[in-house]
Amino acid sequence: MSTTQMMKGILDGCLLAIIKDKEVYGYELAERLERYGFDALSEGTIYPLLMRMQKEELVTSTRKKSTAGPKRKYYSLTSKGEQELDGFIRRWNDLQNNVNRILEHETSSDEF
């Protein structure tokens, strides 16, 4: 798996988590990602991901009027999306634990 592919999988999980928290539209989603520290990302990256997640029925969307300009497309999680998010959280925790264990043991000087 290349770094970008791994990154995409992680981003997918993050998007699902943000959408689960609250129904959001694209711009809001990008802003929240940035506020959490993903600020090197170009904001448009989320749209191909959202399109795929909608095709896979992880999210649904509705159009709502905004005070100014054209209608916004709001995303919310489906039950399938919630399952996917649970799966992601489990996988992420495992991965994080494994990596942490390795780093703790292999980089500390008192080992071996």
Binding site: G26, A30, S42, G44, P48, M51, S66, A68, P70
Partner: protein, 252 residues
């Protein structure tokens, strides 16, 4: 579209390019509309906060368009519709011309060649569109590419005419009944397409091209005078139509 004027030229250009790119890749027009609108909202809000276009679409617009394109399924059904429309549309032009010469007859080579050239032209056109919007070209380069794109099919059709004279293939004769039937079908087709596309440009241009020549041929003028006058009338008529049409578009 409301709010469209608020967007910067650069953003608007990107959205237009994206539309052409996705269309050239055979995507469904509703899907295209959907994603273009969504990005329009995003770009508007981003610009309000002073973000650059690059912050949204990255440094390679082409790469980003490709990413979006990959997530949309190809819409073969409407594609087939467009291809048929263009091929039948070009058929109806040569048909209408030939109808004035009497009963119709075509060689097999002519019929097949026409379809093949139509398909080549359509694919060439779509590839050119994709190339132009994917690579930022100077206006001059863009124009020369369109010029070549316009010249090639003319050259190919002229080539087909010559090959058709040199190579014998079976002829198909339509006869009087077949000719009348074909004429009726052509007229119905042109009206249906115009109705569907909500523009009468096809039948009007066709009439302007053919009618003056036909009418002047009925007069007792010298042939050269007939040709010159009918050509002037044709292009004058098309010019007047385009002028009126653009006035009407502006008014609405």
């Amino acid at each position: 579209m409301p709010g469209k004027t608020e967007l910067s030229t650069k953003s608007r250009e990107f959205l237009e390019d994206l539309r052409v790119y996705l269309f050239s890749n055979g995507k469904n027009s509703d899907d295209i509309q959907d994603i273009v609108e969504e990005l329009e909202v995003h770009l508007m809000e981003a610009e309000k906060e002073g973000k650059s276009v690059e912050k949204i679409i990255g440094h390679s617009p082409k790469e980003y368009m490709e990413q979006l394109s990959n997530e949309l399924a190809a819409d073969y059904k409407s594609w087939f519709k467009y291809v048929m429309l263009i091929i039948l549309g070009s058929f109806s032009f040569s048909l209408a011309n030939d109808l004035f010469e009497g009963t119709l007859s075509y060689s097999v080579l002519e019929l097949i060649g026409h379809v093949v050239l139509g398909v080549i032209f359509i694919f060439g056109m779509l590839m050119t569109f994709k190339y132009i919007v994917g690579n930022k070209l100077s206006k001059w380069k863009e124009l020369s590419i369109f010029f070549v794109l316009g010249i090639i099919p003319i050259g190919l059709f002229v080539g087909l005419t010559y090959i058709n004279r040199a190579v014998e293939t079976p002829m198909i004769y339509f006869g009087t009944a077949g000719t009348i039937l074909t004429a009726v079908i052509t007229v119905v087709f042109l009206i249906a397409v115009s109705w569907w596309a909500k523009t009468w440009v096809l039948p009007i241009v066709l009439t302007m091209l053919l009618l003056p020549e036909y009418l002047f041929r009925l007069t007792a003028m010298v042939q050269e005078t007939q040709m010159i006058l009918s050509t002037v009338a044709s292009f004058g008529g098309i010019g007047v139509y385009m002028f009126i049409d653009s006035k009407m578009n502006k008014a609405s």
